[in-house]
Amino acid sequence: MLPNFINMLSGWQWALLGLIPPAIVALYFLKLRREPLEVPSTYLWRKSIEDLHVNSFWQKLRKNLLLLLQLLLVLLVMLALLRPSWRSSSLVGNRFVFLIDNSASMSATDVSPTRLENAKQQVRALVEQMASGDKAMVISFSDGASVVQEYTENRRLLQRAIDGIQPTEHATALLPALKLAAGAAESSEAGSDTNGGASGTLYLFSDGKFPNVEDVVLGNLKPVFVPVGNDEAKNVGIIAFNTKRHETDADQVQVFFQLANSGDKDEELDVALFRDNQEVDAKRVKVPAGKTVGDDFPPLRGAAEGILRLELRHKDPLALDNKAYAVLETPRRGRVLFVTPGNEPVQWALSTLEAQVRAELTIVSPDALTTADHQKAAAAGNYDLIIYDRCRPEVMPQANTLFLGRLPPVATEVGKVIEAAKTAPAGEKQAAKKLSHAYSLWTQAATASEVPVAKLPQVLDTDRNHPLMQLVELSELFIGSSLLLDLPPGGKSLLETTKGPVAGIAPRDGFEDVVFGFDIITEEGGERLFNTDWWRKQSFPSFWLNVLSYLGGGTQSQTALSVRPGELVRLRSLTPVKQLEVLMPNARRVKVAKGKSNDFPFTQTDQQGVYQFYEADKPAGRFAVNLFDASESDILPRDGLENPIQVGPMEITSSANFEATRQETWKILLILALLLLLLEWYIYNRRVYI
């Protein structure tokens, strides 16, 4: 066949089309032929005809009726050829991916009933428009994405899947959704398109409250952004809610909050503070248009423990950000173990009044490291922080650690690493083996003696932003000798010198390890010498207070843990238990099993509110989940035209009515023409009278 010919009809359709001209010709001949009929006499007939010809208009019309029908037929065919059509927001293409945003901002009620429902309705309407043979997929996304319905032609399944999309209180991120869409589309359409990759149209229903994304290849998916939401939407939301205990008077708690007004009008509204569901304070706050305003309440008294709730008395489309929760807890002292052969400066620093407020200190000598009791306690997480001075354990404990002058061993359990080495995949066996026999993650050296040592390093800089180094000024610090550190993955340098980093912090399975390559006190030839003059500086006690605050595990800030909806929370137990029970804000109870790193990972933080967890039926702690997302509270939908979504190098522009496609009517016209033809044929053959 002609290679460039686009065949729009199948074989039988061509055959049908081919029958039409002969039909017309047949009709034409039918018309011309007058059947001769013998009559005894045309005498009377002639008389009748004469009479008739004189009067009837209808007769003329009837004679011409068939002419009229022919004209109508030709007119219809001409119209059909002109392809009249009207604009409609209809689907283009045969493969569709519908991305529906069900984040917190989509619960706004500026379009009724909610933005999410509106988006769902639009998608449902599109699904109805699907022709047979079209496939579609539905993905819902907030800060993560999930495929609600795989590629299917079954419209009922699609509708059901769409109905089942529930609003969440999560923030919005587009990247996982796009990746999922591109990946799922590819996997479903493997081999179907000779151009490679999935082809089709990606419809993104969202209010656009997410940053532009990089690094996504959409392949042949053509993205269309459909903004959902009214651009007249005004919203005031809580984006921060904090408490701070008074420095000296432990009984007083100061409450801070921040409000953001995303509308174009200045708002003045009432903010109410509740403690344990009783209103304790209220304030009138003015928030100018488009601005964020921070304010506080007068200090609360007698607020040792309790649940604080902040409410905005303001009707706005998004109600999710009009409430915030905070949990007040009695400060808990951290449990700190100091393993040292003797280090008075540090001991003194750790025993100040301030330090005692923060943590409970236990001092042992390095010999204790080998005792079974200690090892059990360390493995059970009985301590929040273990400080190793000139010693190191065999196995890392279930606690934060701080090393002075030594490098930490490789893993929490040596046995585990060897096991891992044995079961590592072939290519990685070597690496795993090497790792299992490595001296430390903090150095390339294989043994302690090979670790590079720097003599008299000059301090260049500290990481002043890190909480540990707050108010710690070390520019003139004298260091005798220090091990040079090789920061492990995820590690940050705390103290940079001319020879390299000598102090760093790195995460390890939910804990953090701080390593100082230099001792405070060294032993050389039986004599105890100071390796550094830090102990004489003002920053020394501050540093140790920071250590206790940051690593010590005590809850100094009054606000217990607050996470965003959907975030993982690692719960810690005070005693070694196998599982914790969590009471969610909707009164459901969920059991949480112990995770790998001796904490209890809890993921069902989808709802805003206060969660309480129990250890063996005793309340063990609380935490709050709050939205606190400025971009979700700013519910003004993204104007897809002026501010198109950047996906890698591509821009997704929105179109107000999708692609204005031509809804073709020529097919209808031709069918009408065919019907007309049949009608004519009928009139003739049945000799219908008019």
């Binding site: 007058r34 001769p36 005894p40 045309t42 005498y43 007939w45 007769q59």
Partner: protein, 291 residues
């Protein structure tokens, strides 16, 4: 050879007799009372004797009384001259049964009645046929009647007037004449009927039309071809046209009826769907043709 008349019909027809309103003069003794006074048993009237009359008819009783010679006049039982004129134009060869067939049946029935009553029956056709039309008398001639009737075929060409004129010329006697025709002649039927009138016969016009003519069932675009002269009329059959046709037909029939009744002729409209016996027994009886 189809029977023109069924035996039952013939049986029924035997009991009928043809009636003429006018008393006619026949030349032979039939069963009629004729005004012509002649030799018969029934005494009718007297006449003065003139020399040369038959002496046998002198009424001697009357001479004895009046001393004058009178002749006795008797009612002669005359036979009726009964003519059936069949229109054998091509237009009669139409319909189911054809009008000609119907006419033949009708002729057969009427002639049979006449034959049974010893009337003089003659069947004529407008255009001369193969056989000469015989004069028939008596029951024994029935087969000859049927034979003649059956060989009659339609042939075109002769107009009504022409045919009737030639009939009148050939048959100048008086009697009953029954014209069985569809009167479909482009030149009109009036002149033909006037010829008949001039004969001073008792004229019966049986206007035979086929059902297709009375109620045509035509559809669509047709070219109507006249069987007699080949004239073609193109029509597009529609309800108004048919209505118009019926109106025209009714006007035609009424016109013929009026023409006839004004001139003292009897007119009967017969559709070829009406069975012959019904026509004869009821309609014609009403009209007074049969009794």
């Amino acid at each position: 050879m189809d029977q023109l008349l069924s035996p039952e019909l013939m049986h029924r027809l035997e009991r009928l007799e043809l009636v003429s309103r006018k008393m006619f003069l026949g030349r032979m003794k039939g069963e009629r009372r004729s005004k012509r006074k002649g030799q018969s048993v029934e005494f009718a009237d007297f006449r003065n004797y003139t020399p040369g009359d038959d002496l046998r008819f002198i009424d001697w009783n009357l001479y004895a009384r009046l001393d004058k010679l009178f002749l006795k006049l008797f009612m002669e039982e005359e036979d009726l001259h009964f003519y059936v004129v069949l229109d054998t134009s091509a237009s009669m060869d139409f319909g189911t049964p054809t009008k000609l067939e119907y006419a033949k049946q009708l002729a057969a029935a009427l002639c049979f009645v006449g034959l049974v009553r010893a009337d003089r029956v003659k069947v004529e056709t407008l255009s001369p046929g193969k056989l000469p039309s015989p004069i028939l008398r008596g029951r024994r001639s029935t087969w000859r009647l049927f034979e003649y009737l059956q060989q009659i075929e339609s042939s075109g060409g002769t107009s009504l007037a022409e045919g009737v004129k030639s009939f009148c010329v050939r048959n100048s006697g008086k009697g009953i004449v029954v014209l069985i025709s569809d009167l479909m002649d482009k030149q009109g039927y009036e002149s033909a009927l006037r010829y008949l009138l001039a004969q001073q016969m008792d004229v019966y016009v049986i206007h035979t039309l086929s059902a297709e003519e009375l109620d045509p069932d035509v559809k669509g675009d047709l070219k109507l071809v006249d069987v007699e002269d080949g004239d073609m009329a193109e029509i597009t059959a529609s309800a108004p046209l048919l209505k118009r046709y019926r109106q025209t037909l009714n006007a035609f029939v009424d016109g013929a009826r009026q023409f006839c009744t004004r001139r003292g002729m009897n007119y009967v409209l017969a559709s070829n769907q009406v069975p012959v016996d019904q026509l004869v027994a009821s309609y014609l009886r009403k009209r007074g043709l049969v009794r």
